[in-house]
């Protein structure tokens, strides 16, 4: 039996009085790739932010490697081994490409990822290392965001909408690099608007609808119609 690295139980998250997540439970095993799908406003990003400690859940528990993350600062959670590529990339615009990457390694977790390794996977970033990060093309910026997250040598990587705003060919390039990125046995949760692609690349999936889980299971175990019904709530 493989060991689960992350366990979320009965999570409830509010923004003011508005509830964004209504009791979500999920687990992810070491080295697994889990796809998280759901339409706009389903609560995917909110779930990620809760896991990272950017948003404080009202109730429920999040255990990472058997330890609760409740009350820990985002910095402390990153030190424990969780990294996120946030929705919309959110690169530091007054930092160069290389400075963005270096900052990603701020917590100095030991592991396979170094500046050099990131440049090996994304050679274009080495060429552009002294450019302001936000002067790069969308696809290259996404590479910086991925590299920045990898630099902390996470054991759990959260990828929020990698393909947002990118041209199809660029999306294809990034997904082709995914095995190389995840090759080190990292557990990964992937949020992706393109459901077909999300299902292809993942082992398991979770579909969210209005803050609840509407369907979950093995990615190849459901028909297109079943998933579509869970996605749109019809």
């Amino acid at each position: 039996m493989s060991e689960s690295i992350l366990e979320v139980q009965n999570l409830e998250v509010f923004y003011g009085n508005a509830q964004a997540i209504h009791g979500i439970s999920l687990t992810i095993e070491q080295g697994e790739l889990l796809s998280l799908i759901g339409s706009n406003g389903a609560g995917k990003s909110t779930l990620f932010k809760s896991i990272c400690g950017m948003v404080r859940p009202r109730s429920g528990t999040i255990n990472f490697k058997g330890q609760t993350t409740a009350g820990l600062s985002p910095a402390r959670i990153t030190e424990m081994g969780i990294a996120m590529v946030p929705e919309g990339r959110r690169l530091f615009r007054s930092l160069s490409v290389e400075e963005n990457l270096i900052l990603g390694g701020y917590v100095r977790r030991p592991g396979p990822w170094t500046l050099q390794k990131v440049y090996d996977v994304f050679p274009i970033l080495k060429e552009r290392k002294d450019y302001p990060a936000t002067s790069l093309s969308g696809g290259q910026q996404q590479m910086v965001a991925i590299g920045r997250a990898l630099m902390s040598n996470p054991e759990l990587l959260l990828l929020d909408e990698l393909s947002l705003g990118l041209a199809p060919v660029v999306i294809k390039d990034i997904y082709e690099l995914l095995p190389k990125i995840l090759g080190e046995g990292m557990a990964t949760i992937l949020v992706e608007q393109d459901v077909t692609r999300a299902m292809q690349v993942s082992d398991h999936f979770v579909c969210m609808l209005e803050g609840r889980i509407s369907l979950s299971g093995q990615s190849d175990a459901f028909s297109h119609d079943e998933i579509s019904a869970a996605y749109f709530g019809t």
């Binding site: 950017m54 600062s73 985002p74 990153t78 530091f92 615009r93 270096i102 900052l103």
Partner: protein, 287 residues
Amino acid sequence: MEWINVIVQGVLIGGLYALFAAGLSLIFGVMRLVNIAHGDFIVGAAYLAMVTITMTGLHPLLSLVIVVPLMAAIGYAIQLGLLNRVLGDDILPPLIVTFGLSIILQNVLLTTFSADSQKLNAGALEIGSIPVLPGVDIGYMPLLTFVAAVAIIAGLQFLFYRTSMGRAFRATSDDGEIAQIMGLDNRKVFAWAMALSMAVVAVAGVFLAIRANFDPFMGPSRLIFGFEAVIIGGLGNLWGTLIGGIILGVAQGIGAQIDPGWQLLAGHIAFLVILAVKPRGLFPRID
């Protein structure tokens, strides 16, 4: 020759204004905080230097060895203990808190030191000067102040763009939320920024106190000079701040040359003219 002298002296005093402004600019750049008490801290640093000199007999410039770290520590503590608690999406609470700090500081200084004006005595440095042209002499102190301003701005520039601390400042300023998931602690980053700002405040305070008389209530007008230098130069640009200080100094000098009563007015007019022509200052970096 008279006008050359006016301009030279104006440039030199611009260095002092840049010292007033640099700490203000730094804090605004890192945490979008407008520190209304900035000028009062400058005056506070002058009194701290005065006490230090009385107790140790040090030369005013040497008192910096004690006043700079002390002010930095005070800045660090105030940020952690007070300002971090009110910083947030709303810019009003920190504004009100620093306004309150300004009033408290003035009154603490008043009750401790009375309203009598004071001055630090730098001895021979104050009277020596270098003749550069007939009718144009550069005093040691104004020259030293200007050199200190340039050195401090160059140092801050280096720190901001070439060190890991500067990287943390810029990242936190760009996106504090994401900086935190990189492992930075915003509260500590802000505290270091305030410490640095107050270290510069200490230098500004000592140079101010050597140059002129000071009393508990002269902080707000130094704040205005600082503000004007920052805005003229363009937000977020430290070299711009130096140029802003120089423009202010030269404008005041020209005003005073025409009519002694016009000194301050001329500075404000220069500021308003630049604001009207270039609302974001001459060399803005922050949108």
